[in-house]
């Protein structure tokens, strides 16, 4: 039985094993490769997407569990906040290898939606599930603060 959901604003239907983790449906079936695989166990955050607006580790949620949900990946993250986050990331040249950054950006957008002016402690709380082996943490923190300032206007 096909699973129907909304992906980056479009209604889609996937006729694959509903036990398949959402991550692999996004990457292999939908061909949206911005969302990354790092651990497959909810421990690194590389696969972070938004499910009905909340950050979710797409490697640990089965396709069958998101029937009818609205999924946003890094490719589909748009709007003022998403653009401000991306701009801040580029302004501070946060990325290094870049592999974790889709997940970092999705987690940061979700944090700023909830908490427009996060403290360092808020950032640590919201972002400590997202590993960056290149160690871009100092800049991630700075970019989140910068976004908060620019969004404020």
């Amino acid at each position: 039985m096909a699973t129907t959901l909304t992906l980056n604003g479009e209604g889609v239907s996937f006729d694959v094993d509903p036990e398949t983790p959402l991550l692999w449906v996004i990457r292999e079936t939908a061909g949206l490769t911005g969302t990354k695989f790092g651990c497959g166990a909810g421990l690194c955050g590389a696969c972070t997407v938004h499910v009905d607006g909340s950050p979710v580790r797409s490697c640990t949620i089965a396709l069958g569990d998101v029937q009818g949900a609205s999924i946003t990946t890094v490719e589909g993250a748009s709007g003022d906040l998403a653009e401000a986050v991306r701009k801040a990331w580029i302004a501070l040249d946060v990325v290094q290898c870049g592999y974790c950054q889709s997940g970092q950006i999705m987690a940061a957008i979700a944090l700023l939606e909830q908490t427009p002016h996060p403290t360092d402690a808020d950032i640590d709380d919201a972002m400590s599930g997202n590993i960056c082996r290149c160690g871009t943490y100092q800049r991630i923190r700075a970019a989140i603060h910068l976004t908060a300032r620019t969004i404020e206007g």
């Binding site: 992906l7 980056n8 479009e10 889609v12 239907s13 996937f14 694959v16 398949t20 983790p21 692999w24 292999e28 079936t29 939908a30 061909g31 949206l32 490769t33 911005g34 969302t35 990354k36 695989f37 790092g38 651990c39 497959g40 166990a41 421990l43 690194c44 990946t73 890094v74 490719e75 991306r86 990331w89 580029i90 302004a91 040249d93 946060v94 990325v95 290094q96 290898c97 870049g98 592999y99 974790c100 950054q101 950006i105 640590d124 709380d125 972002m127 400590s128 599930g129 997202n130 590993i131 960056c132 082996r133 290149c134 160690g135 871009t136 943490y137 100092q138 800049r139 991630i140 923190r141």
Partner: protein, 743 residues
């Protein structure tokens, strides 16, 4: 579905290279490299490529070809900066893409093969890429002079606009492409005077990383993202014990899983091929493999430690000898001794191994972020019975390297060979394999002994290291870097110490462990040992650690008589930093950190120095130790002298990143084994640094006009020692066994 897009649409033989750099490469048209042409080569006249390192297109874009793989260190941006500088290009017209495999054109000048590592990407390319840019500039000037019938000396270039001031004529690079391409390539073109640099060293935000946009919108292409038509996904059942081989396997249940296409034996295990990763993974779960463990490593970490410890009591290969340590120690008024142990470490780049191979009857292509391009190409050719030029390697962005992503595509080639090339194959590793079946930074044990005279002067220093050699398993590197049994990577930083101690003895043992070894970003254990030992010596002598180091650095180390120094010939002459570059970074770090200022209770400050990858770097760490013994690293002040700072902000980023990488490992990371099998399986039990532990990092770059030296790894070399010394200052307890845990 509509959004679905085959990556294939942008993976043609040419465009994958561009795709890897930027999704939209614009109007850049194929050009011919001197010895190899791309398949869809179009009119050469439409672009101008005076050498292998750049081409200028009619659309005005300047594309630099990076011989180094972009692992995140910013080398695309760095090499583009160097060429744009000499070319007087505008930064906005510059792009970068990776080079194909061609050792003649693209070898690392320090290694003699095409390979990225050792923090020498900028170091070995700086002059080469400057020359490439200057040559292209001279030809554009010549072309303009011919067009306007004026002397070339009257022509200037500013931000990509070629000008003849007297007549007011101007031309873009694109307009001059055809004429420039028709000119002979000049030799020995003079380089720009560094006083006129306007991109190199620029720190006002003009020179941004070229890969930031693609890495923030999901379009950057990594090995895991490559998709070819008809491609199968393979996961491999690897043995849990290193050195095991396949005796037999039963795939009857595996083959019943929908989506499974084939199951094949390869030298490293059994590969399950499927239409999707998930099917392949489920198929692997059902696979039963009978492993022949005759030659396998069956020892646990404890047994390996005891074996190393036994060697620690015996004299080893002499890496360095100055004077007579034994006699001096016998005469010493006071001796200090300390043993250190460093755990096995996995590199754990965030992208698990993922690469693609495609095989035809007379050619093989791979897509990977592997660093050792030439050895990979040679080994693939040998595996397939091909000539190296039948093997094409498409470098894609690597999701981290850190010493691990060297020749990973070889396994993908074994799989595609086992199915006779009937479909392209993507090899996909899991995190569990990255921790349990990978290559590792081996375990090391150290013993340090010092002798002090009546006045607290350090008169003797002996240091012995036991660990598996990183290089003996890699003939192409061992030939150069293992001398008289001494693996340079085991002793560098110790045998090469510039501290002025009258009697020095450094020895090493190459322990035998079946676990495959590979170097590790910053490889800091030697610096950790000597720099923390020095603080223990300082305390025994009643001296300030910073002042002790200053006194040991007063004299130029090259003036000292050294009796034995078993180091590779090519590096012999630059083993030591130019005096007094180390002293300068030490003083800068101490001064910026406020060395000597009072700190509150439970707080401590520690200093450490390294000369690593030809770069002196010093750091001061500030820590707070909580009542429960938990340590928090508050601040790292880092001073570095890496010669000309081509991209100062990229250098700062590399300091921040390498500090995080080392610090995370020193705080938490450890691979252990039971009965030869690795105990850890994922990021819950192999812990790495996360954002909540990231200290505030301040970087101070010493202004310099000297040629650039390493920047990717030096930052991670002294930091663990600086932190340990800070904890020592706060608590009196020195960590001699890593990871730290609590005090």
């Amino acid at each position: 579905m509509e959004k679905s897009r085959e990556v294939e649409s942008r993976i043609t033989r040419r465009s994958v290279l561009k795709g890897a750099a930027f999704a939209s490469a614009g109007l850049v048209i194929g050009f011919s490299l001197p010895q190899r042409s791309f398949s869809n080569s179009q009119s050469v006249q439409e672009t101008f490529g005076p050498n292998a390192f750049l081409r200028v297109a009619r659309d005005n874009s300047v594309t630099i070809i990076s011989k180094h793989v972009e692992h995140g260190m910013g080398i695309f941006t760095g090499l583009a900066t160097v060429i744009a500088e000499e070319l007087d290009a505008d930064w906005s017209q510059v792009k970068a893409e990776p080079a194909p495999a061609d050792a003649d054109l693209f070898k690392n000048l320090a290694f003699g093969i095409q390979s990225t590592g050792g923090s020498n990407s900028m170091q070995n390319s700086f002059l080469q890429y400057r020359r490439a840019g200057a040559t292209a500039r001279a030809m554009l000037v010549e072309a303009a002079a011919a067009r306007w019938r004026v002397a070339s000396a009257e022509i200037s270039i500013d931000k990509g606009i070629v000008m003849h001031e007297a007549s007011g004529r101007t031309a873009s690079f694109g307009e001059l492409v055809d004429q420039a391409a028709a000119l002979p390539v000049p030799e020995d073109v003079p380089l720009k005077d560094p006083s006129r640099f306007r991109l190199i060293g620029r720190d006002d935000g003009t020179v941004k990383r070229l890969d930031s946009p693609a890495k923030t919108n999901g379009t950057a292409l990594y090995g895991i993202d490559v998709k070819l038509p008809g491609m199968l996904v393979a996961v491999v059942a690897h043995p849990s014990r290193f050195g095991s081989t396949v005796r037999s396997f039963d795939d009857s249940e595996t083959r019943q899983i929908p989506g499974i296409v084939d199951v094949v034996e390869i030298p490293t295990g059994v590969a399950v091929l499927a239409e999707s990763f998930w099917a392949a993974l489920k198929g692997r779960e059902k696979l039963r493999v009978d492993w022949d463990e005759t030659a396998a490593e069956k020892r646990g970490t404890d047994e390996i430690i005891s074996n190393h410890r036994a060697l620690l009591d015996q004299p080893g290969n002499v890496a360095r000898r100055d004077g007579d340590v034994e006699t001096a120690l016998a005469r010493a008024a006071k001796t200090v001794t300390a043993d250190y142990s460093f755990p096995i470490l996995a590199h754990a780049p965030l992208e698990p191994v993922a690469c693609v191979a495609r095989l035809s009857s007379d050619s093989c292509e791979v897509w990977s972020g592997d660093a050792n391009v030439t050895p990979l190409q040679m080994k693939i050719a040998a595996t397939l019975g091909f000539r190296p030029d039948q093997v094409e390697i498409h470098a894609v962005f690597a999701g981290g390297h850190f010493g691990r992503r060297n020749e990973t595509a070889l396994e993908a080639v074994e799989i595609v060979k086992a199915i006779n090339g009937r479909a392209p194959v993507k090899l996909q590793w899991t995190r569990e394999e990255e921790l349990q079946n990978s290559v590792y930074m081996p375990m090391y044990l150290h013993r340090a002994t010092a002798g002090l005279d009546d006045n607290g002067n350090l008169i003797a220093y002996s240091h012995r290291i036991v660990g598996k050699s990183l290089l003996l398993d890699s003939p192409e590197f061992a030939a150069q870097f293992v001398v008289n049994g001494t693996d340079f990577t085991s002793v560098v930083g110790l045998a090469t110490t510039s501290y002025d101690i009258p009697n020095i003895l450094v020895e090493s043992h190459n322990a035998v462990v079946a676990m495959p070894a590979a170097t590790w970003r910053s490889n800091y254990n030697k610096t950790y040992a000597i720099e923390t030992f020095l603080d223990q010596v300082a305390r025994a002598a009643g001296r300030d650690p910073y002042e002790l180091r200053r006194s040991l650095l007063a004299r130029d180390p090259r003036e000292k008589k050294i009796d034995v120094l078993s180091v590779p010939e090519p590096v012999k002459d630059h083993i030591f930093a130019e005096h007094p570059r180390e002293l300068r970074v030490l003083e800068l770090a101490a001064q910026r950190a406020g060395w000597g200022e009072a700190m509150g209770p439970g707080r401590g400050r520690g200093i450490a120095l390294a000369y690593a990858y030809s770069t002196p770097v010093a750091q001061v760490a500030e820590v707070t130790v909580a009542d429960d013994g938990k340590i928090k690293v508050d601040r790292i002040v880092c001073a570095i002298d890496c010669g000309v700072a081509v991209n100062p902000d990229v250098i700062r980023a590399q300091m921040e990143g390498s500090i995080a990488f080392t610090l995370g490992s020193a705080l938490h990371s450890e691979i252990t084994m039971t009965g030869g099998a690795v105990d850890q399986s994922n990021f819950h039990d192999f812990q790495v640094m996360r954002i909540d532990e990231m200290p505030k990092v301040e970087v101070h770059i010493v202004p310099s006009a000297a040629p650039p030296t390493g920047a990717g790894e030096p930052g991670g070399v002294p930091v663990a020692a600086a932190v340990a010394n800070a904890v020592f200052a706060a608590t009196g307890r020195m960590y001699q066994s890593l990871p730290f845990g609590t005090v």
